[in-house]
Structure formats: C-alpha cells, structure tokens
Symmetry: C2
Subunit: 240 residues, 2 copies
C-alpha cells in the first residue's frame, strides 16, 4: 500500500454492518417483543424487512422530497408499517418507541471493541454513519465503543452517499480527506469516500445479511487497507 | 436539592475555564513561541487579550453581522491582530496556524480527568462549548477527556448563549432538557441553560482569570448542584 500510516490522523467508521451486527441484534429484540406479547413471527424476516426500508426512506430525504429527518424517525415510520404487515398487536406508543430504540442496542462484532480501543490509542476514531447522534451515543455507551467524535449524517445534515456526509465529517475534524480513513464493510461506501479524496479501509462482514448476503464478501477495489477485522486493521495501521 | 440523579442521563460541559485552564495554557504556549523567536512579552497579558477578543468576535456571528464561522477562525483573526499589537515578528503562516492551535492544547484542571472518568461510567458526558469540533477532539485526545459526544456551538451552528446552542445539544442527545445537566464555572451560562429547562451544576474555578478574576467565585443562584470540583460533582451525582 502506498499510504504511510504516519500521515493518517483519523479513522471514521460506517457503523451498521461494519461495527455492529444489526441483523442478529434486531432479531433478538424482535423475539423479546414477541415473547412479551405472546406473538410468533419470523423475526429474522422482520429484521430484514425493517432494514430493507432503510435506503428508500433515506432516499426521499436525499432527493429533497422531504426535509431533513433523523434516522430514528425514519426507523419509527418503517416500524409502524411493519407492525401492521406482520400483524403485531398490543404495542402502545411507549412500546413502539422502545422497540424502535432496538437500533440503539445493537451488539458489536466480536473484534470491534478490541480493535477500536487499539486504534483509539493512536488515532482519532469517529463515526461516519447514517445513524443519528443519540443512536450512536447510546449504542456506544452500551457496547463500549470508544468514539472520539460522533459525526456523519446528522451533524452534516446529509445522508451517505451524498458528498456532504463525507466531506462534512472531514471538515468537522479540520482534516484534509487524505488524512482520514473511511472504514466500511461495503464497497460502495468506500468508493464514494475515495472519490472525495479520503483513504479507505475494507473489513469484510460476510454474515451481515445472514443467508441473504449477496455482495461485499470481499474488497472489489484497490482500497488503501484491507483487513480481516478491526484487530487486524489496528495491526496494519501500527496501532496494535 | 430536589433533583433525583436517577432522572439525569447526560451532563454537558462548558469547556474553557470549566474543564481546562486556558489562561495558564495559552501563557505557556506564548512563552514557548517567544523563546523560539527570541521575543520577550507579557504572555499573561497576551493570553488575557486573546481571550478578551473572544466575546466580541462571537457577537458579530450571534447578531448576524457575519455568517457562521468556527471559533478556530475567530481565534486566528484575533491572533493576527495581537501579533501586530504585541510586536511579534517572525511568525510565518504555518507558525501562526500552530500558535492558533494552542487552543487545542489546553491543560485540564487537576480534577477534570478523574471526575469526568467517574461521571462517564454512569452518564453520557459531552461538551456544550463554543469551541469547534476539531478543537474539542484534539484537546480531549491530548488531555484524556472521555467525552461521549462533542456538541455545542459548531454542530448547533449557534454560539452560546443563543438558545439553539443549549436546546440543539439536548436535541442531538434526544433528551428533554430536564434530563441533561449543564456544568459550568460561570453563573450566566447556567442561568441561560436553566431558562431552557436544563439542570445546572456549578463548579467554581476561582483562578480562571488569574489576578483579574472579578466574578464567578461562587454560585449566585439556586443551581441544582454546586460542587467543589469534578470529583466532588461525581460524588454528589452518585458516580464516584
């Protein structure tokens, strides 16, 4: 790799799928709701359906069809639709709010805390996620993710892959993009980051979508760093 | 006190003077610049003068006379004026940039890291400062301040005491103001925070302005918490 890690000052991370395992976590949360309400459902399908509504919901914000709205609110709108279509009865408003906060309680991949903790000792580590600040902060508190800064969509008022989500994140850190590494398990996220001059690191998460995973099994471009997991990434960046 | 600490979810901190000792730190940085350039100056007076330009500079942004601009940029404009008036010669652009970054290298008060670390175990701890994100992040990395979130002026696009700086900080955390404590060494900051429904904690920093300190020797209002320092604040909030 041509990149000297001495030039790197910060790493910013995609979160859903890259840092945390949303599918297992949402399935777990759904199952708990089902048990409380005495409802049987395919909670993996529920998790997939909820996540499936994510891009179309953000797209309406990205294309200007609607004003800026936080991901928590988009998630809640999707959840209300799903409660209907999955025939889930018995949740009051507070119950829906709590279920929606399942996205604040996602579990990290097994290597995430150890790898981030090592990276945090040498670099600024932050989020560049479409998740909103409260979601990221609550998730980090619960999981022990040692972020130095919560950046990305909400403070930049732009959902990835809009340029402002990447460039605004670098601007908040007052760093030129070439001193910031975007870390993601998704090829397209990194291609966008690289197009704005950011450095890139790919970490495969081949079970993110469970049996439905169709892509991102491996790096498909010449990214600056390719690592097996965050601990390996820390080693490759000299932060282990 | 009528506030139950079980209701509190987050503490957000004023930073200059409350968490860090800007006056000693800027004096130290000035002295180092002077030694490098072979210049003698009253560096305490320089620090006081630089800080003295802070409120008038922000006021032009607050009152709409000029567009949003980060504190780093306001500091740099003030620094260029001071270099002139103090007759400091020999600093090139990179030298001015580095001197300006003295504000990223402020030392915490002796109790700050220990107290924040204890509070961080039980509560969300964040900044609600007029300092910009890069300044807060770099300062925290150097000093070991365990912030969960960097909020305040820049992400809210409003300098304190504009309401949006306080309310926007609570909104980013998705918490009602009554579940967020504003911590400051300045009575007026807390009076503003309380006017928006936030909880308040006063910690006196009687040497902030050195021999020129004229106020804020003690809490002048009925704040929710009054503590000797951050370790004492942690104890009063059951986080010690």
């Amino acid at each position: 790799m041509a990149v000297d890690s001495m030039e790197i000052r910060a790493l910013v991370f995609d979160v859903f799928g890259t840092v945390v395992d949303w599918r297992s976590s949402i399935t777990r949360e759904g199952r708990a709701v089902g048990e409380r309400l005495g409802i049987e459902a395919d909670w993996e399908a529920f998790a997939d359906a909820w996540r499936g509504m994510y891009q179309p919901a953000m797209e309406r914000v990205r294309n200007g069809e609607r004003e800026w709205v936080r991901l928590d609110d988009l998630h809640r709108e999707s959840l209300c639709d799903l409660i209907e279509s999955f025939g889930i009865r018995g949740l009051d408003e507070a119950g829906i709010d709590d279920f929606n906060r399942a996205w604040h309680r996602l579990d990290p991949w097994p290597d995430a805390v150890e790898g981030l903790t090592a990276l945090h000792r040498r670099f600024i580590v932050g989020t560049c996620s479409n998740g909103n600040v409260a979601m990221m902060v609550n998730m980090a508190k619960r999981a022990g993710l040692p972020w130095d800064a919560i950046l990305g969509a909400e403070p930049c008022r732009a959902y990835k892959p809009l340029p402002q989500a990447y460039l605004g994140t670098c601007a908040y850190l007052d760093l030129p993009p070439e001193r910031v590494v975007m870390v993601a398990a998704h090829n397209d996220d990194l291609v966008h980051a690289a197009s704005h001059g950011m450095r890139t690191a790919f970490v495969a998460r081949p079970t993110e979508y469970g049996p439905h995973q169709e892509r991102d099994f491996e790096a498909e471009h010449d990214f600056d760093f390719i690592a097996d997991d965050f601990v390996d990434l820390a080693a490759k960046l000299g932060a282990a």
